[in-house]
Amino acid sequence: MSAALRARVLAAAAAEPSPTRAALRRRNTLLGMVAVLSAIGAFVIFAALMSESHLLRLGGEVMAQQHVERPVWLVIATVGGAIGLAVTALRLALGRGGSMLGRSPRWLLYGGVLIPVSLLVWKVSCSLLFGDAMVAWPERPGERCLSLSLLVAVGPLVSFLAIRRHAPVQPALNGAVIGFAAGACAWVAADLWCPVAYVPHLLFGHVLPLFVLAGAGALLGRTLFSLRRR
């Protein structure tokens, strides 16, 4: 081994400061806060824009269904379950299973697919207990919920990708799971806002954004996580 090569590598490392574990932890905490605040901000802005008073001011119509009140226990059950599943999705996406190379592709693949399936199953199961919530609402296909989910998830998606940026293997798969996790967080917001549990609405307005975000996450992951010579 050449001493010159050793000196060159050490000099190159010394010339380029890198964060220590403590510094990275602080940075990740900050990114986590950015994710939460941006999601809350997006939710508040969207709710304000879609509020009855704002719609009436713009000359729009308020649909009768908007006044439908959900039982409190249904809201608590669906949102509580969604929060639990979102936390599980976050652990899957941001945790690395004790290995510097992250979780195995099988874990990521099965976990990623299970996130939207379990969220949908939970929402439908809870709503089945309250028959009214499952009433068909063809006039609400779910485009608002789709917009809300995508809007709320943008901040978390970018933050999570920044947190988990050192993924030397399976960059696209890791990115996709991060997209699903960001979508799961947005699902909580959509669940709080939307009283509809009609399955076609759920598939279009609530489940589809998760797959859109997973696709975006996969593309971004492939670009951001891939190791390229500098």
């Binding site: 050793r6 590598v9 050490l10 941001l94 945790g95 004790g98 290995s99 050192h166």
Partner: protein, 205 residues
């Protein structure tokens, strides 16, 4: 949520790598001097792996430098207790793949350049029995090397990681991002192919 989780030790790799793991851990905590120790512990194996894989000393040195710089940049994300070598090999392998891809593009752009480096040297006929043996051994080694090069990339890398670099099946599977069973199967297929070369050589000699 805490991102750092302690993993179990990977006993399949060579014992001096405990030093590499400890050095990386100290470096992650901010001990700048530990990078030199980390270099001394892993660079020779990393360079050996890259030299065999690229067959180009300059490229291998460049890729090793890049690998260590990637580890330097990502030091804060090092998980306490995680084995450092599979991580280093995985980064090296990814950089190598990227380099090969770029080279292919360059070759396509400048198609006048020689397509491959078939450097099979002509061996002069030996005069003595001992020289015959040496010649036979060299030819066999050459054929084995050619067979290894002709293996599918996944089989070749699995074989090299286990046989040349001494990684455990578990570590090799982490480097390759696949299951232990898949690595076992790939290595087994490589052994079968090499055994066939040896058998063939035994029949002809």
């Amino acid at each position: 949520m805490s991102l750092a989780r302690i993993s179990g030790s990977d006993s399949g790799d060579s014992p001096h790598l405990d030093g590499a793991d400890a050095a990386m851990e100290r470096y992650a905590r901010g001990d700048e001097a530990a990078f030199g120790e980390l270099y001394d512990a892993i660079a020779p194996r990393l360079l050996g792996f890259l030299r065999k894989a690229t067959r180009d000393a300059c490229v291998a040195e460049d890729l090793m430098q890049q690998t260590l710089l990637h580890m330097h940049r990502a030091r804060g994300s090092f998980i306490p207790g995680a084995p450092v070598l599979p991580w280093a090999f995985a980064i090296a392998r990814r950089l190598m793949t990227d380099h090969a891809r770029r080279r292919r593009v360059e070759l396509r752009l400048f198609s006048e350049a020689p397509a491959d480096d078939d450097r099979i040297a002509y061996e002069p006929v030996a005069a003595t029995a001992a020289a015959d043996d040496v010649l036979h051994a060299r030819r066999l080694e050459q054929r084995l090397q050619q067979r290894i090069e002709a293996l599918p990339e996944l089989q070749r890398t699995a074989y090299r990681l286990i046989q040349y670099d001494g990684l455990s099946l578990k570590s090799a599977s982490e480097v390759l991002g696949t299951s232990v069973t898949a690595v076992k199967l790939r290595a087994h297929r490589a052994y079968v192919a090499l055994r066939a070369v040896l058998r063939e050589a035994g029949e002809t000699s």
